[in-house]
């Protein structure tokens, strides 16, 4: 499944990042490497962006960015 489809409160584990170039670099710099646990914390009123807990920091990602991250549901 994609990170953009992870419901609020659920936790996933990064499987792959499908984009390339600067955006890929950016996501890796934020700590989104395969195996990283990530939890959806909040959704903004319009549904975009979403807030995630990534390695102890709250990071907001737009849906089009979050959909570039493949995850596996944990638990």
């Amino acid at each position: 499944m994609l990170l953009s489809q992870l419901p609020v409160g659920k936790t996933g584990e990064v499987v792959a990042i499908t984009c390339s170039g600067l955006m890929r670099r950016r996501l890796l710099d934020l700590g989104l490497v395969p195996g990283t646990k990530i939890q959806t914390l909040r959704q903004s009123p319009g549904g975009d962006p979403l807030a995630f807990n990534i390695r102890g920091a709250v990071i907001a990602l737009r849906l089009d960015t979050a959909s570039q991250v493949k995850i596996r549901l944990v638990k």
Partner: protein, 252 residues
Amino acid sequence: MKGQPVQPLLRFGIEKADSPVVALAGNPNTGKTTIFNALTGLNQHTGNWPGKTVVQARGKYCYGGQEVVLVDLPGTYSLLANSVEEQIARDFIYFGRPAATIVVADATCLERNLNLLLQVVEITPFVILCINLIDEARRKLIKIDFARLQERLGIPVVPVSGRTGEGLELLKKTVLEMVTGQLRPSPKQIIYDGEVEGALHQILPEIKGIVGDDATSRWLALRLLEGDETVVQGIQHYLTTDPPPRLEEVLA
């Protein structure tokens, strides 16, 4: 490029550096500025980075009879130049050649901070890892093996609490030892996979011929392999001997 490059620090708005310049880098919200304030007190100047709408804070402090100029870099997660802040931080560390760079990391989420540290260590060996917020980490029952971290990284690691001032004495002492050359760290180099290392091997002799043979040519080669054009602009801007064109000449 050949010959003596003009004082690169001038291009960063630092007029004369009789005293060693030390850069302060780190992720956002790690207490970098708290440490900057604790070290320099009221002895600081605030301005902008030349040509950028990003705040530059500069300060001085004296320790052991040695004056040190401290430059607070913008908080970044990375140095790979996705934003103006990252480019400033990277250009300062690479082209400005500070005598030492302090990387401030948050003890409560150390792992996410070490990415930036490893990037800085690729540029320069003169790095001190300053682990801040140790008081908060203790409260959260986080235990950090500083000695083991120091051994694995090959650079000095100093635990501090910017808020209480704990560890700042050791930080100043470590900075002094590094800028006076008593302390020469030998960080572990990151070895990439065969393909990358092979390509590096091919272009490195040529790059060394242009910028000189020092530890940082490997970093430059890696950026060029990535196709990073901002680093080429940086070379033209910071390492050319010619003064920038005057306005009248541009308009003529």
